[in-house]
Amino acid sequence: MGLALAQGRLEAGLWLASRPGPALEGGLALGEGEVFVRLLPTRFGLGYLGSLSLGPWGFLAYGLQGEVGEGGWGGAVYGEGGVGPLLWEGRLGFRPKAAPPLFLEEGLFLRLALRLRLPFGEALGLELARNTPWRPSSFGLQPGRAAWLLEGSYALRQGALLGAGLFPWPYALLGYRDGILDFTLRLGGINRLEAGLYLGEASLFLILSYPFAGSVGAWLGDLGLEVGLKAASPLGEDRETLYAWVRYAWRWP
């Protein structure tokens, strides 16, 4: 009875690539957080996400995940918080072998990020990462990044973003967002364009990088569609291949 009434979510998908199969992700509210599962034919993950809302001041969140499957066990811990002008995120994990589309990272992966809001509404960002996608996978799967990355950025309140990074060679960062359109361009040590168009119930995403890899995706309400080329490379089985991912998300109550 309690379970039937508990708040939850389920995202069921079909992964079409060299090793096609179902991809399921589900979560059920428990206490102040959520227990979640991630299930692929080759890998299973179980985890907990906890959070504490600080209202308009921000939030604190943490999580842990354990997994078993092809290649052996893996796991990750993460913590995130935004209080007043400061936002931070820390993530650390290990996985012997990637299993797209739900387990993208391979080897030791980590991300440390800080963002600070300045008095006139600008934001300073600093990030150190290894093997971690730039954005959540709802924006499209990411061409992998096996090297260390260090990036600094400065975002104006009006939406422009400027920055630079090392990957491991220097690159420049340019971006823009206005609530409907956003794009980020990195040129130099990495060449990559990410763009999003947000139209309320529908959102469109594009990722293009050179050497060539790319994906286009769309969310139409709760239905997610994505096709890409090499986008999960060099992770997992999908080096050099075309893939498609169709998924649908339910939420209750």
Binding site: Q7, R9, E32, S51, L52, S53, L54, G55, P56, W57, G58, F59, A61, G82, V83, G84, P85, L87, R115, R117, P119, F120, G121, A123, P136, S138, R157, R177, G179, I180, D182, G196, Y198, L199, G200, S203, R251
Partner: protein, 216 residues
């Protein structure tokens, strides 16, 4: 002597019950007076999470028939561009820095750290639900004579010890909030630029289209 004492108690008891009735009456008047859409500016000082006083400025929008309240923060800088929307069932907190809209069920959305739920300041029935209110007198304010109500949270964990609310007599609506914890005043806020105005429900529920919606 004993008779005199009990007589005094009787008078006090009667007086307090008269005041208790008046509180409900005042709240009813506020509710009736604020039953059409209105907007206002909330302005003053609050204690930040670091315990230092900060200038506070926010815009408040209310659609009472639909039970929708929206507060847009302007100051302090750490809250600027954030907003909170209160609906019948949910609390939405938009965080500019993460571009996230955090939606929580109302019963789970305890607003900690702030000491009060600013979006509820225009909602007298929410007050009466959470606070044990008493009429403690009258006070003159720049906007006119006002009732002074003092409220003690009914349950622990409210984040403050007591809240004083000034309710304008000629135009029954809150005009000042004084919130105290054990150490003293944590928020002193005045309601200004009050006006009744048609408001669009969609505008009150609006958020950036590229915001990531997170349910917690």
């Amino acid at each position: 002597m004993a008779v005199k004492k009990s007589g005094l108690f009787l008078i006090l008891f009667l007086l307090s019950s008269v005041f208790a009735q008046s509180v409900q009456e005042i709240l009813d008047r506020v509710e009736k007076n604020l039953s059409t859409p209105w907007q206002a500016v909330l302005k003053g000082q609050i204690l930040g999470p670091d315990g230092r006083p900060q200038e506070f400025l926010a815009r408040l929008y209310a659609l009472p028939q639909e039970e929708i309240f929206r507060i847009e923060f302007v100051k302090p800088g750490s809250l600027a561009d954030n907003f909170t929307v209160l609906t019948k069932k949910e609390v939405w907190n938009y965080l500019y820095l993460t571009n996230q809209l955090i939606k929580s069920p109302r019963e789970r959305a305890q607003i900690q750290g702030l000491g009060f739920a600013p979006a509820e300041l225009g909602n007298p029935s929410a007050f009466a639900e959470k606070l044990d209110l008493r009429l403690i007198g009258e006070v003159s304010t720049p906007q006119g004579l006002a009732y002074r109500l003092r409220g003690i949270p009914k349950e622990a964990g409210a984040g403050f010890k007591e809240m004083e609310v000034y309710v304008l007599k000629p135009d029954p609506r809150p005009v000042r909030f004084l919130i105290r914890d054990e150490k003293g005043v944590v928020a002193d806020l005045e309601v200004g630029e009050f006006k009744r105005t048609p408001l669009d429900k969609a505008a009150l529920l609006r958020y950036p289209k590229d915001a990531q919606v997170v349910r917690r």
